[in-house]
Symmetry: C2
Subunit: 360 residues, 2 copies
């Protein structure tokens, strides 16, 4: 067996110890005689797995007691509808900040439920920078202010937390949750698809301040009503049990690495290796403003894009996968989430140097 | 390692060969160097897994070409909202047949989107029988007629297909899909949560006739718009990739058993062993009308319910799990889905005889 370095933007690489344990426990979890996949979600075994996953997530992110943690389904694209359904609370307008492809999707979907005010846009920089907060035009009557904390495709990331006063801040953190410590109390709601830093696709995590729930629109599907799910410990319907189990193993792994402070330091080292090399090279370029560069998704280009196919072919031959940039951006993208080891980034930079030497 | 006989109503037992293969492939699927959990849903590896799962399901159920197969999220409870959102098609009314707890949930949820006509109800029999079709009062202007083909809690199952004329028949088949051959062309839409006969919780399968989609209500979340998902091969958002992989392995296992005709024969043998014994005993009883008894979920009671706890304790000691009946029904429930081997049912009946002999 040879494992590859998987630079996929998501679903993405998982920690190898997590996969090994999952394989070992597949037919018989802790002497239960069952796979976790086979367990009733109402049985004592799965209830313990679920409770531990939530407790670990609360510990890692230091989630205050007045926040609910929900394990749902439907991904961030589902949440783009479910957030306004739940959070409008009698209001008719919401603020959105447009920083690229993912915030655009959120804006379009929210428009089915409310009037969207685009409070700021990265369009002027062709989405290579996050708009500074002094340029935001916030609506004091907005139900909430929505941001995408890391744009997986464009590669810009907030390295600061917006101040939205008494209006709740909502963040799609799908691609940078658990990559570093955050102050959850600055947010009204955080949501994230699991398939980058958490676990398998199909699990969606929602962290929401409890005073914001309980006023969902009547058209909200019961399975996606935050208050009803909170009242049922996310078991109003059968939760994605196996994905929650894997997420719990990932949370445990993060804790074993030293928690989010240690994870952040590791992520900063990895990103620095890659960005520093790109910046030192005339062969490769990064279009992103330095202060807004994502630590998770690193888009870069070869100045001569006619070499793209050869670059990707050579990477594949060296067991480095999924480096092709998103079709809307072109070039390359290296996604270096928590589970990407430093050796993967070092191998990539070594290959980039080699390729430059052969083709520069 | 000792595997148990797991009679859970869902999530439920999976075929052991499927779990063994999943464990073997966990770190490296087919020499890809990746777990299926880590694969980009846009990569060639996962696209092949997804396509094979769909092809196998189409083959097993003989799904006609004019039906779309969608791999979604949110479970049957999610679909209870998503079905009317998609299928009302400008109409304002829908027919529902009430056969127990699960149809009641569907009825309640549909009421948020349309006027529900309860065309027939099992209430008169205390939900121990499926209402005969000659007693149904169908509305010719209904957008569709909804049934629950197997009531997981109550234990009644349709052993016939309703005739709804030109009004599309919609069936929640969560707990009996793939238990026997069906004529898909008799249905407008079939939906099912995966966690009984298909695979892990978190995957929801929708099979829908293609002329019925494309008129979703404007409030339908894009992730749950059948037409948009169909146009994107269920990849409008990241699908629950690992659950789809496991489902594909289960579909392959069903095919290896001889397909749905062989599975049905096996299921009939298992159910007969259990029902015949209950009927032959004065110690145990089944309240369900013989012609409507579920082959998947077998509720039964001890005439002396003060013995329930002792019965369950003895079952646990013999490695038979999750036999406790649903809290709304009481007594016992043995769920004997496809993956339950005949030995499991034989072991249960042997224990029931032993318990009767000791306590009768």
């Amino acid at each position: 067996m040879t494992r590859v370095f998987n630079f996929s933007a998501g679903p993405a690489a998982l920690p190898e110890p997590v996969l090994r344990l999952a394989a070992e426990e597949m037919l018989d979890w802790h002497g239960s005689g069952m796979s976790v996949m086979e367990m009733s979600h109402r049985g004592k075994e799965f209830i313990a797995i679920h409770a531990e996953a939530e407790a670990l997530l609360r510990e890692l992110l230091a989630i205050p007691a007045n926040y609910k943690v929900l394990f749902l389904q439907g991904g961030a694209i589902g949440q783009n509808a479910i957030v306004p359904m739940n959070l409008l609370r009698g209001k008719t307008r919401a603020d959105y900040v447009d920083t690229g492809d993912w915030s655009k999707k959120s804006i379009k979907e929210a428009g089915h439920y409310c009037t969207v005010n685009v409070a700021a846009s990265g369009k002027g920089s062709n989405f290579t920078a996050i708009p500074k907060q002094d340029a935001w035009r916030l609506d004091p009557d907005a139900a909430y202010v929505h941001i995408c904390s890391n744009e997986t495709i464009g590669g810009v990331e907030y390295h600061w937390t917006p101040d939205t006063g008494s209006v709740p801040l909502v963040a799609d953190m799908s691609s940078n949750i658990l990559s570093r410590p955050i102050d959850v109390s600055r947010y009204g709601l955080i949501y994230a698809g699991a398939q980058k830093n958490i676990g398998p696709a199909g699990l969606t995590i929602v962290i929401v301040r409890d005073d914001l729930i309980g006023q969902a629109l009547p058209i909200t599907p019961t399975a996606f009503d935050y208050a009803q799910q909170a009242a049922n410990d996310s078991m109003l319907n059968t939760p994605p049990t196996y994905a929650i189990y894997i997420a719990g193993l990932v949370f445990r792994w993060i804790k074993d690495q030293g928690g989010l402070a240690a994870i952040e330091a590791h992520n900063r080292r990895k990103a620095a290796i890659l960005y520093d090399f790109v910046d030192s090279s005339d062969f490769y370029t990064s279009p992103i403003a330095r202060e807004d560069r994502s630590l998770m998704n690193v888009p870069f280009k070869l100045r001569d894009e006619s070499l793209d196919a050869a670059f990707l072919k050579g990477a594949e031959a060296r067991a480095m996968k999924q480096l092709k940039g998103h079709r809307s951006v072109g070039g390359m993208r290296a996604s270096i989430y928590n589970a990407m080891p430093i050796e993967g980034v070092e191998a990539l930079v070594a290959y980039m140097k080699e390729f430059e030497a052969s083709n520069g």
